[in-house]
Amino acid sequence: MPKRLIIGDRQGQSGIYISHPGSDVDSNDQSLLLDSRYDMLRIHATGTVRMSGYTYSGTKTVGIYWATITFPNLGYTPWVWGSCVFRNAEAHDLPQNSAYYPQPWGISTRSGTRWTDFPASKLTYFGYWLENNTTLRAKLSLDGAGGGFYIDFQYIIFENKR
């Protein structure tokens, strides 16, 4: 059975090292399960919330959605990741129960060009941002009336400092 754990010196660098099953921790042939030379993503908070929505009728009619997440203060600005899931069968042309990676995008992505390769052609904007060290906000807009659709915002707030 290969050696899998080192706490202390490994090749001149002090730390903690754990190899994958079947791999020797002294070997450089494979990546390690835990390698303290490098940082890791660590989760601080995560969840899914239903976005609030309403129809705005001005010079243009749009559906506006938003969400506000409050999370415990780490004392610094953390990394965040967000996305959204479209729950309706017919939220305009947004595919039901689908999420996009790296994230949904829409008409405003580049020079106002509508991306015909993206099924959700009614999506005009999606974004999220940290208002401060305890508040994450998300916003999404759709062309045309659409305050009654079900759109969930998913988020991960990492412990890692931005």
Partner: protein
């Protein structure tokens, strides 16, 4: 040299270089006993032709779409005009779409979900 590893009855902490593992703040730790790591759940890759798509059936169950990271063999960033993925719950299907002008291998890494 600062202590990089601190082990006690109820603590196991590993710090970044230059920080004392026993006393430093959490943002300077690489590993600690209370952390929730972002653990890879499953991964794979597929060759996707220019303008084409490949459908992948993920093997684990997901209540909500999980955190997914994509990588291209052409070293392009994921997004519109390059490549992206669509995840659908239920069948846990991941569709890899290549919108670039050349074939590429798209690798995907799906991470475990946590309820915090």
């Amino acid at each position: 040299m600062s202590r990089r590893v601190f082990l006690s009855v109820d603590k196991l902490r590993v710090s970044k270089p230059g920080f004392d593992a026993a006393t430093t703040a959490v943002e300077n730790l690489i590993f600690h006993e209370g952390m929730l790591p972002v653990a890879p759940f499953e991964s794979g890759s597929a060759t996707v032709a220019a303008g084409g798509s490949v459908s992948i059936s993920l093997t684990r169950g997901y209540v909500d779409p999980p955190f997914i990271v994509l990588k291209s063999s052409l070293n392009l960033t994921p997004g519109p005009g390059h490549y992206y993925a669509r995840f659908t719950t239920g069948g846990a299907t991941l569709v890899l779409l290549n919108k670039w002008t050349a074939s590429m291998v798209i690798s995907y890494f799906v991470f475990r979900q946590f309820a915090v």
